[in-house]
């Protein structure tokens, strides 16, 4: 319905422009673009830090995924679209530090995650309540950011809710948790379905803050299956969980700058080029670079999707 309304107006304006107006291609003088480093860095409690480094490209640069380059990735020959290959940073020095300890991250392959390589630590594992510095040296420039891992908050219960009134209907998972009183909490949720996801994925709306319910018990939330790029985009069930599936659920506590980043990211994915929409810039925590360095305090539990356990009163303990 939202769409209808917007369309109507654009239609109205188009009608006008059709009457008298004209349009022409123009070159905006910011079209000369200087690529920036894009950091996708995370440190989950209990795990080593992982950082993916790429470069942004100019908005008016053509994307061509059909021209490929053959590269050798850790001994494995791979065809990678030249456009994407050019955006990957292979030779940065990435260091995570905490309390005087330093962990230099190593570049390793990961065919489950674009762009198939990532930097991973081997000394420092994330711990709730601590802060972590990220230092990156690349192309004679140094980048620095800091994040913290807030204390995780447990999920009290989870249950399955079918989306349709039919046998073995796909559906989503609902849950309850108790928000700690007196502290600002920001949450981000992930899931990983056995046999379906090779990595944790997040639903489209994956974050929330506790402003409306600070300190309350029995806060209800809902998880859809996340956007897994490897799945068929036409599959009507790709955003649902299916009966019989075993799902790992991660509810993570994040700090405010980290939360803000994902708010911006979420808003950004809607817009782009619509002259009638408000710009939605994504604000990260790394000066002079795009992306974000974020810590997660993880509460993880597994859940078996059982279509018989549909009664929301018949709670299933994690």
């Amino acid at each position: 319905m939202k769409k209808n309304f917007a369309h109507t107006l654009i239609l109205l304006l188009s009608f006008l422009i059709f009457l008298v107006g004209c349009e022409e291609d123009i070159t905006l003088d910011y079209a000369e673009y200087d690529p920036k480093m894009v950091v996708e860095g995370s440190i989950f409690s209990g795990e080593y830090a992982e950082v993916i480094l790429t470069k942004s490209t100019g908005y008016f640069e053509e994307i061509n995924l059909n021209d490929s380059t053959l590269i050798e990735l850790f001994g494995i020959p791979v065809y990678v679209p030249t456009y994407l290959y050019n955006t990957v940073i292979f030779d940065a020095t990435v260091v995570v530090s905490e309390g005087g300890q330093h962990d230099t991250l190593q570049l390793i392959p990961d065919l489950n995650v674009f762009p198939f390589v990532k930097y991973r630590g081997s000394k420092i594992k994330g711990e709730p309540g601590k802060s972590y510095d990220l230092t990156i040296e690349y192309d004679n420039q140094e980048y620095w950011a800091q994040t913290s891992i807030p204390l995780p908050v447990p999920i009290d219960s989870l249950w399955f809710e079918p989306a349709f009134q039919e046998e073995d209907s796909p559906g989503f998972i609902r849950g309850l948790f108790s928000d700690p009183k007196g502290v600002r909490n920001y949450y981000r949720i992930f899931s990983k379905t056995q046999g379906r996801d090779s990595t944790f994925v997040h639903p489209f709306v994956s974050i929330w803050d506790d402003t409306p319910f600070d300190g309350q018990d029995s806060i209800e939330f809902r998880i859809f299956h996340g956007d897994n790029k490897l799945e068929d985009p036409e599959d009507p069930n790709r955003f649902f969980f299916l009966p019989g599936e075993e799902v790992l659920i991660r509810m993570c506590s994040i700090d405010l700058p980290h939360y803000r980043f994902w708010v911006g990211y979420q808003q950004n994915s809607g817009g782009g080029g619509n002259p009638f929409a408000n710009p939605a810039p994504v604000e990260g925590n790394i000066p002079n670079a795009l992306g974000n360095w974020g810590g997660y305090g993880v509460y993880e539990t597994s859940f078996f999707v059982d279509s018989l356990q549909v009664d929301s009163l018949n709670l299933k303990s994690p």
Binding site: M1, K2, V38
Partner: protein, 782 residues
């Protein structure tokens, strides 16, 4: 403070000498229309006053014999001897100076009002000036002329929206015979709703707003409708490319009662219809707008007069597409009505009481197959106000009054119906408010050179139930609802608004002026896009939206040259604005089902400062004015641009407008040139991949990029076909954008290809609305 001082200074003076009062109305000799802002003074004393909005004046001084001079732009100056040995009532009728006779009576047109008054940032535009300028599609437009003044910027190509000294378009109080007009434009702002044939006078106050005006931060545009000819029946009108106008006026009873009725309708839809065959799927699509102004007045006695005036206008856009079974009807427009009563208690105390109704509505009616959806938004006001003017004497004027307004806001309501489903979320979203204000304003000479205008306005704004507040979490899910019953107070704001302006006379033809105003504004216009649309929402202050607060300081130097031949001024201003609203970044307009419209905003402050130069030549065969503004307008919102200040969308570093009119025999030539720094917008500069292949758009700094500069020249030629007594007919040829400049209306991004196919390109496109646009119009009056 100013008032107390004024009273202390006033009383001894009043007790010393015996004074008498000269008062009355100033009118047009031919039509009987009251003249607003005429200069009335005793030439020996260099003491004077100006007639008020109803043409009334009152001047008191020591007994004696004086030369009374009354002058008004466009009229022969009237001079007479007055023996002021008692209170005198004198109604004066001024003779209009000959139009287009080639000879202009120099004496008649001169005015030094700009130098003598305490008003800063105030410009009076005679309708004659407005009518002489080139037009778009042959339609004379008051708001477009206003935009040519220094400190006033157009909201965009062809737009009737305007920004005054860095304030938003919602910060202008637009009054038509005292009634607030909420959306003063037709056709997305390409035309203003004011039909110039029915308009008598236009006054713009952009700084130093007197206390009688309130509720807006930036400016007052006070438009008075004509009263109707008291002497004889008259008609005037015109036929242009897209519209026709007709105005009829005349006495109901000579010199006692008169009427005026004026209508206008566009006929683009009728012109297009033959080209859209009935068999076309789009048959039934079209657009038109119309206006109707009407006014009657009755002089009950010399002390009492009543007026009834009204405006009704609608834009109607209809769209049909038979192929997918859609029919849409989108009407929007304003309705205003005012009933006023002028009463003279004595020759020193004048009262005006007005009851006002004002309404703006926007709706969309969509019929798709058997589903009918109706969207509706609007604002309705009922106002009762009374204003007094008291003239104690010696250039002293006190005005005071009170105002009550009942507001009803419909931020956005939806109702839908099909065979199975029916939805209606309407009533829960309505917002009701009471708005009370009282004011007092005192204008007096502190010393012969220093004139003070001090005022104080007290306002109370109260949001009342029934009202439902939806409390939401970050996911946008309702977590709580709070309900107030009818009449319950949701929130109340009360504030004092001091106003001060002063003039210091340096010499016979130059003066210095300064002013300070502190204003509150309890309503906000939420505009999501870079162009003003009729869907922009009026939002009242509420439990979550706080009132806008404005402070403005300005100083000016006014100098007239060659015995008032040339008026010039330099003004500097500094303005701050608090509690400005913007839609949350990334939001797009939508419906508010189970939500409050004001849940989607972020709040911040604005600042603007600038310098304005103005030169005007009002008489001679060549007339015109030119204005240049150098200004900077920034905004700071915690939730936008990382909390750093950024240029406002309408920040315009340089803004120049010039007009020139040359009259020769039966010809009148005129030209307008405008130049402005391009509007600020937030560019999209890059893109990157993250979150496993999701494309993220990288924006540049907020409003960091400028569209190409805006400039344009319009010219027009008017030829007087016939003039006999008061019967006239003329032909006007106008060319808008004469050198066909491709000015940007907006910039958007267009895509080619698709990521899934592996090839994808983006380009920027600029949309220009008006290329060179010639038009012809025929105007007549008899």
């Amino acid at each position: 403070m100013g008032l107390a001082m004024a009273l202390a200074l006033l009383f001894p003076a009043t007790l010393l000498a015996q004074k008498f009062t000269l008062s009355g109305y100033v009118r047009d000799k031919q039509t009987g229309e009251e003249l607003i802002g005429a200069n009335i003074y005793f030439s020996e004393l260099l003491k004077g006053t100006v007639s008020n909005t109803y043409g009334f004046y009152s001047i008191s001084t020591e007994k004696g014999s004086y030369t009374l001079v009354i002058s008004y732009l466009g009229y022969e100056t009237y001079e007479t001897r007055i023996e002021l040995i008692k209170d005198i009532r004198l109604n004066i009728e001024l003779q209009p100076s000959g139009l287009s006779t080639g000879e202009v009576t120099i004496q008649a047109d001169r005015t030094d009002k700009n130098v003598k008054s305490t008003e800063t940032g105030t410009i009076l535009l005679p309708i004659k000036t407005i009518e002489s300028l080139p037009v778009l599609f042959g339609e004379v437009d008051i708001l477009k002329t206003i935009q040519l003044l220094p400190g006033v910027q157009s909201a965009g190509e062809g737009s009737a929206g305007f920004y005054v000294r860095g304030g938003g378009p919602d910060q202008n109080l637009i009054l038509l015979d005292g009634a607030t007009v909420y959306n003063a434009s037709h056709l997305f702002g390409f035309f203003s709703v004011f039909n110039s044939d029915a308009i008598k006078d236009v006054k713009l106050i952009k700084g130093g707003m007197p206390a009688e005006y309130g509720g807006r931060l930036s400016s007052v545009l006070d438009i008075s409708m004509k009263e109707g000819n008291m002497k004889e029946y008259k008609a005037r009108g015109g036929i242009s490319l897209i519209a026709s106008r007709l105005t009829v006026e005349g006495p109901i009873k000579e010199d006692t009662s008169s009427f005026i009725i004026s209508g206008r309708r566009t006929y683009v839809d009728l012109l297009i219809r033959p080209f859209v065959p009935d068999s076309s799927p789009f048959a039934g699509s079209g657009y038109y707008f119309y206006d109707l102004n009407a006014k009657v007045n009755y002089r009950i006695s010399d002390r009492d007069r009543v007026f009834l005036s009204g405006y009704f206008g609608r834009d109607v856009f209809s769209f049909a597409n038979a192929e997918n079974g859609v029919a849409m009807n989108i009407p929007w427009g304003n309705t205003t009505a005012s009933a006023r009563w002028n009463h003279l208690f004595s020759d020193k105390l004048f009262m005006n009481t007005t009851a006002i109704y004002s309404d703006y509505q926007f709706s969309i009616d969509i019929l798709q197959n058997d589903f009918n959806l109706k969207l509706f938004s609007g604002i309705t006001n009922y106002t009762l106000k009374t204003d007094f003017s008291y003239f104690p004497g010696d250039n002293h004027k006190i005005t005071f009054g009170a105002n009550y307004t009942r507001h009803l806001f419909i931020p956005s309501s939806v109702s839908g119906q099909s065979e199975e489903v029916s939805i209606d979320v309407g009533d829960a979203l309505l917002q009701f408010a009471n708005d009370y204000s009282i004011y007092i304003n005192d204008e007096f000479d502190l010393t012969p050179r220093l004139r003070i205008n001090a005022g104080l306005r007290g306002t109370i704004f109260q949001q009342v139930g029934p009202f439902t507040r939806y409390v939401k979490n970050a996911e946008g899910v309702n977590t709580d609802t709070i309900t107030w019953n009818a009449g319950d107070e949701v929130v109340r704001f009360q504030n004092l608004e001091p106003r001060l302006s002063m003039r210091y006379t340096l010499g016979k033809s130059n003066s210095l002026k300064a002013s300070y105003t502190h204003n509150y504004q309890y309503i906000h216009l939420a505009s999501v896009s870079t162009v003003l649309l009729p869907t922009d929402l009026w939002i009242p202050s509420s439990d979550v939206v706080f009132p806008q607060v404005g402070n403005q300081y300005s100083i000016g130097y006014f100098h007239n040259f060659f015995e008032d031949y040339l008026e010039t001024s330099v003004e500097l201003y500094y303005k701050t604005m608090e509690n400005q609203i913007e839609y949350r970044p990334g939001s797009s307009f939508g419906l508010t089902v189970g939500d409050n419209a004001d849940n989607n905003f972020v709040y911040g402050d604005g600042e603007s400062y600038g310098m304005e130069l103005f030169v005007r030549k009002n008489f001679g065969s060549i007339t015109g004015f030119a204005g240049y503004t150098l200004s900077r307008t920034t905004r700071q919102f915690d939730d936008i641009n990382l909390g750093n200040p950024y240029p406002a969308r309408y920040d315009r570093r340089h803004d120049f407008s010039g007009t020139l009119t040359y009259e020769y025999d039966k010809w009148q030539f005129s030209a307008v040139f405008v130049y402005g720094t391009g509007s600020a917008f937030t560019p999209i500069v890059g893109r990157y991949f993250m979150d496993n292949g999701t494309i993220v758009t990288e924006y540049g700094d907020f409003n960091s990029f400028r569209m190409p500069h805006y400039h344009r020249m319009d010219v027009s030629i008017t030829y007087l076909l016939m003039q006999k007594d008061e019967r006239r007919s003329s032909l006007n040829l106008s060319v808008y954008n004469v050198y066909n400049r491709q000015n940007p209306y907006f910039i958007y991004y267009d895509f080619q290809g698709s990521i899934l196919d592996g090839q994808f390109a983006t380009m920027a496109k600029q949309v220009t609305i008006f290329p060179i646009m010639p038009s012809i119009a025929w105007n007549f009056s008899f």
